[in-house]
Amino acid sequence: MAEIVLPPSIRDVEPVRSVRTPAQLDYEFTAGDATTRFLNGIVNKRIIGQQAPGGRVYVPPRGADPELGQPTPIDVEVAQVGTVTSFCVVNLQFYGSVMEIPYVSALILLDGADLSIMHLIQEIPADQVRIGMRVEAVWRDDADIEPTFESVRYFRPTGEPDDVNVRIPGEGHGTGLGSWVGGVAPTEAVIRNPRTGQGGTTEGGDA
């Protein structure tokens, strides 16, 4: 590192090589129609998704199916139980994190939904969480319910047998959408072209 030469008047001062300037960001969030419906459901301890043309149910709903580029106009209530489709045990404490480690963040496919949500798993040791485990939502006390998915404090095991054949979204045919099979690449046709309505030939589609 290059030597910093200071003028005589401040020669005894320690040179400044870098400064730390924390920044804070406050922002306003416009929920929009779909998220407002979802959050209003949460206030009533119900989990509301939306159904896309073809039947796929999005939770939380975003108002549109990202693949079809079409609105998801039909509100659908999904179950408060689901299956763990994958998970991570976080053992890392880092700047800005409010979580106590270790914690289990899991992808949970709620019964009736077609997209896994990410939420916390508790009431079971981290090393006993498994793919296929059946879990249920644990809500805050009624007085503390607010329009946020954090009103579900966490999910816990239901005690039911594991769903060992849990359908993992995107894992259609056991190979995955992005696999080359027999040396042949997937084609654009496996996703539906929103302009033509063609394609969408994989599991879960309505073609």
């Binding site: 946020t148 993992i168 894992e171 696999s179």
Partner: protein, 389 residues
Amino acid sequence: MGKQRVAVVGIGQTKHQATRGDVSMAGLVREAALRALADAQMTWADIDAAVVGKAPDFFEGVMMPELFLADALGCTGKPLFRVHTAGSVGGSTAIVAAQLVQAGIHERVLTVAFEKQSESEAMWALSLPIPFTPPLHAGAGGYFAPHVRSYIRRAKAPDHIGILVALKDRQNGLKNPYAHLHEHDISFDSIKDSLMLWDPIRYAETCPSSDGACALVLGSERVADAAAADGRKPAWIQGTAMRSEPTLSAERDTVLPLGGALCAADVYRQAGITNPRKDVDCVEMYVPFSWFEPMWLENLGFAEPGEGWKLTEAGVTALDGDLPVNMSGGVLCTNPIGASGMLRFAEAAMQVRGTAGDHQVDGARRAVGHAYGGGSQFFAMWVVGADKP
């Protein structure tokens, strides 16, 4: 009029390390750019335009740094572009630069990508609370760990594969003087015994945080032919491709994303590659967590579903293997995030120019560079060769 030919005629990178306290952000990019210019035997005056990329500005908290970097990059009075595509940005930045030559607009384009992680809080920036959502995000590792677990289950892969990848890449990194990590004492057991940061991803199976930059000079056919006549081999760009896909689509495959496979198929078609395993001599792919090597081997058409880990286990991807992967040591040794994609593209170009030094693959004539970013939702690839396309 079709595409004009384009080649890499200059390559430069910084010494990458945890903290480059000896240089500012401007000094960092300038170090890489000057090396690329020297390699191309050019000066700033020869450059027609510059294309700059880095990961989200949130990381260092410096918004639109390309504005103040313009003079450090000799761009005053010249076209300067900024590219954003998250972690894949180093790759897509090089592709945008190549397209300026392919379009016949410019003859000599400088492209630079960088990150100064020592001045950054990337974990924080990747874990920003989302309104009305539990604050569970734990950086890139927290996002990707469940998808790695899905791969292990789906492919029935044994636990030690991730360790083998980390060991290979760290040993390759020892041969690369620019690499950030030079872990001479690393061993299978030291990786196995390292902390499970984001179970199933261990600390030693994770990329470091680096300060660094990479730069390329891309030239037209006329410029590249002149370099070749002077004994400086160009790396001819035989194909480039980018793809994106929606992160929250219901049937999205988060393990082997469709966009990644389509990107590979597109770039191979351009390069005339019909059997990637046979037609490609070596690959630099974006592997920030060791398990992504077998995942990308399958996603990029080098292996059948569930077979990628078997190539790793059999040593096929070793430096002296049949399909060397991450000869430079890869992202697992060096991760200045914004530059990481361009470093993959640069290594591929170095291989076909025969300038990769101790990590050179003998006789490499065609190489693939690959980058991905976001929640496995942006993909960028190029194929470079010793032969003119």
